[in-house]
């Protein structure tokens, strides 16, 4: 298998789109994670804090999902046209789940006290279902999608398999871990202690699920097997599990010692990055594994170029003001700052 990368526009777009999806996964990952963790914070005051910690930024986080969809439509329209019908039920489930958890951010503060539990439930259910659906979507793409000409060729239940259920659960656990380490950074005192404990538990669960998914993946398709275990590909692939192992040790060390507020979150981001890169190695150069390569699906040069120029100018600006927004609301959430 030839792993040499020729840097053309299509590759650049694949990398750009992968970057956008990765940014989405970590940003919305931790705020979906907060919804998944909500049941562990039954007290209203704690729930207020947890939601406040992302209230000013969740909207921007979710915009990366729109960029992911829009970018796929624009740069790889054929892949978009095949994947969306193939993944119809999990995509619709994700979108509707995001409706619930998105409005919960606003509605929760407007509901009467005796109705608030409804929007808490919407926040928990919406976040968990959206995360699970995203995991299922990932798994379904990895396990392969039937293509017929320029369209999806399978039925509408093909996406469901033991593997996709495992990847769904894995993503829920991973987002919960991200959320827990975020809260460890943003909260203080007793809620922070709780977040740290949760980070421990979900850390173990996440690492376990990464191992299970990783062991499963090479058996799905021979290409993955060769990718990971054949010489010389293993030279590229081997650092992935090694790095994940090292980072895992570092995560538990920082969680055990205490006093580290930001470190666990940053380490989990790094674990996500490495795992994501591992997925990239598995899939390259396919956008729909073993059926459609990025070149097959690419929109014409003129379309990709037009957007690429804009993306090169605009993405740094976007990252700039997004960082600024995070900076404005930096630091611990102060529980003393008023609750009527």
């Amino acid at each position: 298998m030839d792993l040499a990368i020729s840097f053309d526009l299509t590759v650049a777009w694949a990398l750009l789109l992968a970057t956008a999806i990765f940014i989405y996964v970590v940003l919305d990952g931790f705020d979906l994670g907060l919804g998944i963790l909500y049941p562990f914070f039954p007290k209203k005051s704690d729930r207020d804090l947890v939601m406040n910690s992302v209230a000013p930024v969740w909207d921007g986080n979710e915009t990366w999902l729109v960029l992911g969809g829009g970018g796929l439509f624009a740069a790889f329209p054929l892949a978009y046209a095949i994947l969306m019908p193939a993944l119809y039920p999990p995509i619709i489930a994700m979108l509707l789940a995001l409706v619930f958890r998105g409005v919960a951010f606003e509605f929760r503060w407007r509901a009467r006290d005796n109705r608030r539990f409804l929007w808490d439930a919407a926040f928990i259910g919406g976040s968990t279902v959206a995360a699970f659906a995203q995991g299922v979507i990932l798994g379904a793409i990895l396990q392969g999608i039937e293509v017929d000409g320029r369209a999806y060729g399978g039925t509408w239940w093909d996406w469901l398999s033991p593997f996709t259920v495992i990847t769904g659960v894995a993503v829920v656990l991973g987002y919960a871990l991200l959320g827990a380490t975020w809260l460890n950074m943003k909260l203080a005192g007793e809620p922070q202690e709780k977040a740290r404990l949760l980070a421990w538990r979900f850390g173990l669960a996440t690492i376990g699920s990464i191992v299970v998914v990783s062991l499963f993946t090479p058996y799905l398709d021979t290409a993955y097997w060769e990718r990971w275990f054949a010489w010389p590909a293993i030279l590229f692939a081997a650092p992935v599990p090694i790095l994940v192992g090292v980072l895992t040790l570092a995560l538990f060390r920082t969680l055990t010692r205490g006093g580290h507020d930001a470190a666990p979150f940053v380490i989990v981001l790094a674990i996500f990055l490495i795992t994501f890169a591992g997925l990239g190695i598995s899939m390259w150069p396919y956008i729909i594994p073993t059926e459609v390569t990025i070149y097959d699906a690419a929109s014409p040069y003129k379309s990709q170029l037009f957007m690429f120029v804009g993306a090169c100018v605009l993405l740094p600006i976007i990252l700039g003001y997004t960082t600024y927004a995070y900076w404005v609301f930096r630091g611990k959430i102060d529980p003393e700052k008023g609750y009527h």
């Binding site: 209230a55 909207d59 054929l78 509707l96 407007r110």
Partner: protein
């Protein structure tokens, strides 16, 4: 074959339902974002606390509307693929980049500065906070321009070639973006969003005044501002609508035939059908009330100009005539009612009865949702009028749909209907709760009454003066 037909109809209904719901929220959030920027600017300029109070009053419903717009919009960006995958495959190279630009230039801008706008006044200082308000307002307008460029291209495609695979390929980006109907549609739709918001604001203010808050300065201020919009912008909007109509006549004459209910050609001057029931089977308008030659005068500026009718095109090229005909009349009718209340407000302003004439206030309450109805009616006119095509004249709706079975489309449609009504119904109730009372002296902003509560930064409350006045208006 029957199954395919059902899936097509369900997919069309799903798109119509989800986009009509979605359209309501940006129509208001585009207008409110600009209104909030104006209010904040007026507060910084005049230091009149009524403006700050109004800002704090309207920013809360704005946050709700914005959130509902975001979540219903994410749905739209994926629906092209889930239900219209053939359309996506074929138009992706041309339309995809425009949508990507919408995300890059508008969505991120709005979302990035929204948090600072809602919660950041105390943290970033007033200047940067004003910048954030402006960025959100500008972002909503930029977003409208891209999506309307996409929509206009589907009506008046330009700047493309067609590949062997049947994909549309970009040939000239400027021609794609500034396609022949874009600027007309953009001006008309953006103005519609501002007017819609003005009538919502006017309706809320009038409601509060009828409930006893007619001395509340903030309520008076917003009523006056909204009535200026009604009086000055409605005539502009009617002019912009006329110009879009003429543009449609040039590029999509069949749509205009359906709007006018002209089944027959009129070689020497076409009548304007005011009302009637279009009967496509008999090819005539039943119970028609007509004014001779007026349609030719409006469309061609000549009483005797010939106008072709639907008999000049094959029936399979017709849009569903009654829907287009009636949706158009609803939109135009509301436009003239808006003009009427605008003129009536000028009369009352001149007589000094703007804040006391209860008939004006009752009319304004009744007109509160009128902009939303007009926006949806206008959208139905133009979109149903584009049928039977998705890309006008080039790609048929029946050839655009995904290979997804009717059960899947039907199930998701039911889910959308149930969830949208429950979730957005609740949202509308919360908005009613927020706007039911007149802006109080101690009106809290989003940061005090919403997420990130930080009490103690509320400006000093002067409960005394306005409290009694507002008593009647409070919940």
């Amino acid at each position: 074959m029957l199954d395919q037909f059902d899936a097509l109809l369900l997919a069309r209904f799903q798109f119509a339902f989800t986009v009509a719901f979605h359209f309501i929220f940006p129509s208001i959030s585009i207008g409110l974002a600009s209104y909030l920027a104006v209010l904040n600017g007026m507060w910084l300029w005049t230091r009149d606390e009524a403006y700050l109070r109004l800002w704090k009053f309207w920013v809360k419903p704005f946050a709700l509307v914005f959130a509902m717009g975001v979540v219903s919009g994410i749905t739209m960006s994926y629906q092209f693929g889930t239900n219209w995958s053939v359309f996506s495959d074929k138009t992706g190279p041309v339309l995809g980049p425009l949508m990507a630009y919408e995300v890059l230039t508008a969505f991120f801008l709005e979302a990035g500065f929204l948090g600072i706008m809602l919660f950041g006044r105390e943290r970033v200082g007033e200047t940067l906070h004003m910048v954030a308000c402006l960025m959100v307002a500008v972002g909503t307008a930029i977003s409208a321009s891209w999506i309307l460029s996409v929509n206009s291209w589907m009506h008046t495609p330009a700047g493309y070639t067609i590949s062997e695979d049947g994909q549309f390929l970009p040939a000239d980006w400027l021609a794609v973006i500034f396609n022949p109907s874009f600027l007309h549609r953009f001006a008309h739709t953006l103005t519609a969003a501002y007017l819609t918001t003005a009538f919502v604001v006017a309706g809320v203010a009038a409601w509060q005044m009828l409930r006893g808050a007619d001395k509340n300065r903030a309520t008076r201020t917003m009523f006056s501002m909204a009535m200026w919009m009604a009086a000055l912008v409605t005539p502009v909007q009617i002019f912009l609508g006329d110009s879009q109509g003429l543009n449609t006549l040039e590029h999509q004459p069949v749509k205009v035939m359906a709007m006018e209910g002209h089944y027959e050609s009129h070689p020497d001057g076409a009548p304007l059908v005011l009302f009637g029931w279009p009967n496509s089977e008999e090819r005539r308008v039943d119970y028609a009330v007509e004014i001779p030659k007026l349609s030719s005068l409006i469309l061609k500026h000549d009483l005797n100009a010939p106008l072709d009718g639907l008999d000049s095109v094959p029936e399979e090229e017709w849009p569903p005539v009654p829907i287009v005909f009636w949706a158009f009349r609803v939109m135009v009718g509301i436009g003239f009612l808006m003009l009427g209340i605008g003129l009536f407000s000028l009369w009352n302003r001149w007589k000094g009865t703007l804040y006391t004439n209860r008939w004006l206030h009752r009319w304004a309450v009744a007109m509160g949702p009128s902009g939303l109805v007009a926006v949806i009616a206008g959208w139905v006119t133009t979109e149903v009028g584009r049928q039977p095509y998705t890309v006008y004249g080039l790609l048929r709706t029946a050839d655009s749909v995904s290979p997804v079975g009717a059960p899947a489309v039907g199930a998701s449609l039911v889910a959308y209907i149930v969830i949208y009504f429950v979730v957005f119904g609740a949202g509308v109730l919360y908005i009613f709760k927020l706007i039911n009372h007149a802006p109080r002296m101690d009106e809290g902003g989003a940061e005090e009454e919403g997420p990130l509560r930080t009490s103690g930064v509320t400006p000093a409350t002067e409960v005394g003066r306005d409290a009694a006045i507002q008593g009647g208006a409070a919940e």
